[in-house]
């Protein structure tokens, strides 16, 4: 099973990378209101049970993949 974790800076957290990318996109002529930059973590999991896998990835996020003070996370499971 595969899991994708999306980690984002929380609303209100200064994201200078996102600001720089937004300005660059505007220079290229794109109408961009805001840009935020996060992180993608692709994981390969041994667990075959989706509920157990999700719970496991949540623990990974809480312990390491995201810092709850400044980041939120979202988990997508691919059970194929």
């Amino acid at each position: 099973m595969r899991a994708t974790v999306l980690v984002r800076p929380k609303t209100g957290i200064l994201d200078p990378q996102g600001d720089a990318v937004r300005e660059s996109l505007r220079h290229l002529g794109f109408a961009v209101g805001d840009a935020r930059i996060g992180r993608v973590v692709d994981l390969e999991l041994d667990d075959g049970d989706p509920a157990a896998a999700r719970a496991e990835v949540e623990r990974m996020c809480e312990q390491l993949l995201a810092n709850p003070l400044i980041e939120s996370f979202e988990i997508e499971l691919d059970t194929q």
């Binding site: 800076p9 957290i13 200064l14 200078p16 992180r39 390491l64 810092n67 003070l69 400044i70």
Partner: protein, 236 residues
């Protein structure tokens, strides 16, 4: 200093990617401590340690988030136990990031608002002059100490900043106009609730000799050496 004062042992942790460990050890030795480098893979600190320094650098390549992986090093369990027992722990730059990630200090360190790596002297104000980190400083005094970091923008939510301020836990603030990274409330250094763990972005170990620009960092490190000496078992 008489030179006859006992030399307290201060453990300086070395993570893969630390690069200010030897400077910190050199400065602590010059200020009267017996600094010992301790590899991050060790489960224990030297038993006679009476203070710990987590030095600057780029532990684990700053992968994921600065300090996020180093906090799980075996030696960090010993550092946490040492801090729980009231032992003084000072985190400098990357060491500050590690302590925040480990939950030993409040807040988090984000990329500099400018997105630029900043490397220059900054002036900070001593908000709290007390043991174990700033006892040799004047309250309200101005210290000039270099910073060199890409991710030193300390962040905490406003209500937490107010709590820290009221509790006297914001020990160092960048002087007006000197904030090099966009840190919330100009915070350059904070402590834990008990006051025995502190992190700061400026590098006191790079400012211990006026010949190299400033000796102000020695006030912080010598305060730590004093505190470490006070914790040494009495030898009669």
């Amino acid at each position: 200093m008489t030179g006859r004062e006992p030399r307290p042992t201060i453990a300086v942790v070395v993570f893969p990617g630390s690069n200010d460990d030897r400077d910190a050890a050199w400065a602590l030795r010059a200020l009267g401590a017996d600094a010992q480098l301790v590899w991050h893979g060790k489960d224990e600190l030297p038993p006679e340690s009476s203070a710990v320094v987590l030095p600057g650098g780029f532990s684990y390549g700053d992968y994921l988030r600065c300090g996020a992986i180093a906090r799980f090093s075996p030696v960090m369990r010993a550092v946490e136990a040492f801090a729980d027992g009231g032992g003084p722990v000072l985190g400098i730059c990357n060491g500050f990031q590690v302590l925040c990630e480990a939950g030993l200090l409040p807040g988090a360190l984000r990329p500099n608002a400018s997105l630029s790596f900043v490397c220059r002297d900054v002036a900070v104000r001593v908000e709290e002059a007390a043991a174990p980190f700033t006892s040799r400083c004047e309250p309200g005094g101005r210290l000039v100490i270099p910073v060199k970091h890409g991710e030193g923008c300390w962040y905490a939510p406003p209500e937490l900043v107010d709590d820290l301020d009221r509790a006297g836990r914001i020990v160092l603030r960048y002087e007006p106009g000197e904030n090099p990274n966009g840190a919330t409330a100009d915070v350059a250094g904070v402590t834990n609730e008990q006051g025995n763990v502190m992190g700061l972005m400026p590098h006191p170990e790079h400012a211990v000799d006026p010949m190299l620009g400033s000796g102000d960092g020695a006030l912080i490190l010598a305060s730590l050496v004093d505190a470490a000496r006070d914790r040494m078992p009495a030898t009669v």
